[in-house]
Amino acid sequence: MGTNATARAPSGEAAARLVDSPSAAPEVAVEDLRFAWRRGAPDVLVIDRFTVRRGERVFLAGPSGSGKSTLLGLLGGVLVPRAGAVRIHGVELSALPGARRDRFRADHIGFVFQMFNLVPYLSMGDNVTLPCAFSARRRDRATARSGSVRDDAARLLDHLELDRATLAARPVTELSIGQQQRVAVARALIGSPEVLIADEPTSALDAGTRERFLDLLFTECTATGTTVIFVSHEAALGTAFDRVVALAELQSPSGPR
C-alpha cells in the first residue's frame, strides 16, 4: 500500500475520464437480472440494477460462493440470465443469439477466468495473440498500437514484467501460477477491448508484485479507456479502484438471499 495506485483519488479521475467519453450511457448495465444454475433451482443472483460507467474500475468483493464468478460470467456473456438484461457497450448481450454473442465477446471483452487460463500447447506469445486470430477488430487495434500483433503481445508481456527472453521458450504449463495469470491478463488486454473482466487474477501474486501488477494494468487501461471489473478476495486492493462493490449490496432484498 501507499503506492500511486492506492493513493489515487478515485472519484476525481473517474469523473475526468467520464468527461472525455462521447456518451454518458453506462458501459456495463444490468437490469432485473435473475440467474439460477439450473431450471427450477433457487436464484443465485437477483440484481435489479448495476451499472458501470465507461472507463470506470470496479472492484467486486464478496465471500466465497456468493456468486462473484457467476456475475462475471453473465457480464461476459459466458452465462445467460434466466430473466433480465445485460448490456455491454450499448448492446444487449443477453439478447444476442449464441454466435453473435461469441463474436461480440471476441471483439469487445477481455475475459480472465479464475484459474487455468492458458492453452497448454501454445507458447506464451501465441496464447497472448490468440484473440487477434478470432477478432479482426482486436487484430487491427493491436497492429495500430505496435505495428504488428506479435509486437503488441511482446509489449504487453514486457509491460506485465514477464521476462520473454527466458520464458518464451518454455511451455506455458511450466510457468508459475502468477506468471500464467499475467499472461492471461496480457491476452485479455491485447487489441484493447472495451471491457476487461478479471476473476481473481492476482490470487497467486505476492503483495509487492500484486500492487505493481495493478499499477501496470491501470496504466494500460487508462491509455485505452478500458472499463475494468475485477474480483479479488484481497480487500486491501479495493482502495486502488474507483469503486468497491460488495455483491451483497447488489443483490435485491426481495431475492432469496
Binding site: S69, T70, L72, G73, G76, V78, L79, G98, A99, D102, R103, R105, A106, D107, F111, F113, Q114, M115, F116, N117, L118, V119, P120, Y121, L122, L130, P131, A133, F134, S135, R187, D199
Partner: protein, 423 residues
C-alpha cells in the same frame, strides 16, 4: 492469418502436444487400413493366382460329370475321376482336324501324399500358367526312361529329393491300406522350378511308367502270383489302355464351341469338355463365402480401430474441457471448436491411412523374396487400385465420423466450463 489457418495450426499443435496417444491412435488406424487393404490384396492376388493356375489350354476333356470336379482332379489334383477315357477315343479326338495339340493325363497313384501324374513330354512344352509362363526345370531333364520321374518344386523341397533319388509310387491316393508299387521304383530325373500352381505338388512320370507299374494288376489289386520285374516290363508293349483326362490346344479359337459340342456328344463314350477359364470362375464363385468372411473380418478390425480412435478423442476431451472453454473465451466460436476437433480426427485418419499404406507396402516388399522362392508366386507391388483408394477414403470418412461425436460434444459444451475451476 485467417481463422481456418489458426484452427488447423491449433489442431496440429494440440496433436503434437499429445503425440504419444495420437501416435497410438494413428497406429491403430494404420493397422486397420493395412488389414483392410491387405485382405483385399490377398483376395485379389489369390484370385489372380487361381486364374493363373492354367493357361494356354483351350479345353480340358474328361469323363462326363461335373465341370468343377473335372477341373479339380485334372488341374488341382483334388478328388478322383468317376471314369476313364479309352486310349482309342483319345487317339481319335487328338487327330480331330481343329486340334493342334493334346496332352494326356493319367491320375490315380500317389507318392507320400503327392499325386502322381502320368503324361508325356508334351506336358512340359504345353502346360502354361500365369498368362504365358512355361514350366522350367530347376535341375535335370524331362523323363526319357520309363521309370523316370520329374518332381514339382514343393515335392522335391518338402521330401528333400535330389536328382537320381529313387521313388516308390503308391497305388491309389490317400486311402488307408495302400499297396506300394515297390517292385518298380522310379528315379528322379528332373525337378521343376516353383510355379505357385498344383504342378509344384505333383510327381510327373510317363504314361508308359504308369502302364508298367500296373502290369500285374487288375481292378486295383495285384494279381496273385504274377511278378513281372522292371527290366522285363521295359520290353513289353506299354501303350496305355486308358487315361483320365487330356488337355487340348486348338489351331483357332473359332472352333472352340463346335469342338466342345462334338466332344460332349461323342458317341462311343460319355465325355465332357470344359473351358478352363470358365470352370475356374465357377470354382472361384463357390469359394465366395470364404472371401466374404475374410472381408467381414477385416471390416470389423477397421471398425475396432476407429472406435478406439473415437474413445481416445472422447477421453481426451474430458481433460480438455478447460482448453475448449479458454478458446471459446478468447473468441473461438462453437464452429471453430468443432472444426478443431474434426481437423484433429482428419489428421489422425489421414496419417493413419498413409502409415497403413506404407506398412502394407513394406510388408509386401519384405515378403516378396520369400514368397517367390517358396511358392513361385510373384507378389506385385502395384499402386493402390480404385477400390483400395475407396477403402482408404472410407477409413478417413469413418475417422471423421468417429471424431464427429466428440466434436459434437465439445460443440455443445458450455463456455461456462471455464468458470468453475474443474481440472
Amino acid at each position: 492469418m485467417s481463422v481456418l489457418v489458426t484452427v488447423a495450426r491449433l489442431a496440429l499443435r494440440s496433436l503434437w502436444n499429445r503425440r504419444l496417444t495420437a501416435g497410438l491412435t494413428v497406429l491403430a488406424i494404420a493397422l486397420s487400413a493395412a488389414m483392410l487393404l491387405g485382405v483385399e490384396k490377398v483376395r485379389r492376388d489369390a484370385r489372380q493366382a487361381f486364374a493363373d493356375t492354367i493357361s494356354g489350354t483351350d479345353l480340358i476333356v474328361g469323363a462326363r460329370g461335373g465341370a468343377v470336379q473335372l477341373l479339380l482332379y485334372s488341374v488341382f489334383r483334388i478328388g478322383n475321376a468317376t471314369n476313364n477315357i479309352s486310349w482309342e477315343t483319345y487317339r481319335e479326338l487328338a487327330a480331330h482336324r481343329s486340334v493342334a495339340w493334346t496332352v494326356p493325363l493319367s491320375l490315380g497313384d500317389s507318392h507320400r501324399g503327392y499325386r502322381v501324374l502320368g503324361t508325356n513330354t508334351e506336358y512340359f512344352a504345353r502346360y502354361k500358367y500365369a498368362g504365358d509362363r512355361p514350366l522350367t526345370l530347376a535341375a535335370g531333364k524331362p523323363f526319357d526312361d520309363v521309370f523316370d520321374a520329374v518332381l514339382g518344386a514343393e515335392v522335391a523341397r518338402r521330401l528333400g529329393y535330389a536328382l537320381g533319388d529313387p521313388i516308390v509310387v503308391t497305388h491309389g491316393a490317400g486311402e488307408a491300406g495302400l499297396r506300394n508299387h515297390d517292385d518298380k521304383p522310379f528315379r528322379v530325373s528332373g525337378i521343376l522350378a516353383p510355379t505357385g500352381t498344383p504342378v509344384d505338388r505333383t510327381v510327373h512320370v510317363s504314361l508308359e511308367g504308369i502302364e508298367a507299374m500296373h502290369i500285374d494288376w487288375k481292378g486295383g489289386a495285384p494279381i496273385p502270383g504274377r511278378r513281372t520285374d522292371a527290366e522285363a516290363a521295359r520290353k513289353m508293349d506299354l501303350e496305355p489302355r486308358t487315361i483320365t483326362a487330356f488337355l487340348v490346344g486348338l489351331d483357332s479359337k473359332l472352333a472352340l464351341f463346335r469342338l466342345q459340342r462334338t466332344i460332349s456328344t461323342y458317341r462311343a463314350e460319355p465325355l465332357q469338355a470344359i473351358i478352363p477359364g470358365v470352370a475356374l470362375q465357377e470354382l472361384w464363385d463357390l469359394m465366395g463365402v470364404a472371401e466374404n468372411a475374410l472381408r467381414v473380418i477385416s471390416v470389423m478390425v477397421a471398425v475396432t480401430g476407429l472406435l478406439g480412435m473415437a474413445a481416445v478423442i472422447l477421453a481426451s476431451l474430458e481433460s480438455r474441457r478447460r482448453e475448449m472453454a479458454v478458446l471459446r473465451s478468447v473468441g473461438a466460436r462453437p464452429a471453430h471448436v468443432f472444426g478443431l476437433l474434426m481437423s484433429e480426427s482428419a489428421t489422425l485418419g489421414l496419417a493413419g491411412v498413409a502409415t497403413g499404406l506404407g506398412l502394407l507396402h513394406a510388408l509386401v516388399l519384405a515378403a516378396r523374396p520369400v514368397v517367390s522362392r517358396l511358392f513361385g508366386l510373384h507378389l506385385p507391388l502395384a499402386p493402390p487400385t480404385t477400390l483400395d483408394l475407396a477403402l482408404l477414403g472410407a477409413v478417413v470418412l469413418a475417422a471423421l465420423a468417429a471424431g464427429a461425436l466428440p466434436a459434437w460434444r465439445a460443440y455443445r459444451m458450455s463456455l461456462a466450463d471455464g468458470l468453475s475451476p474443474r481440472v
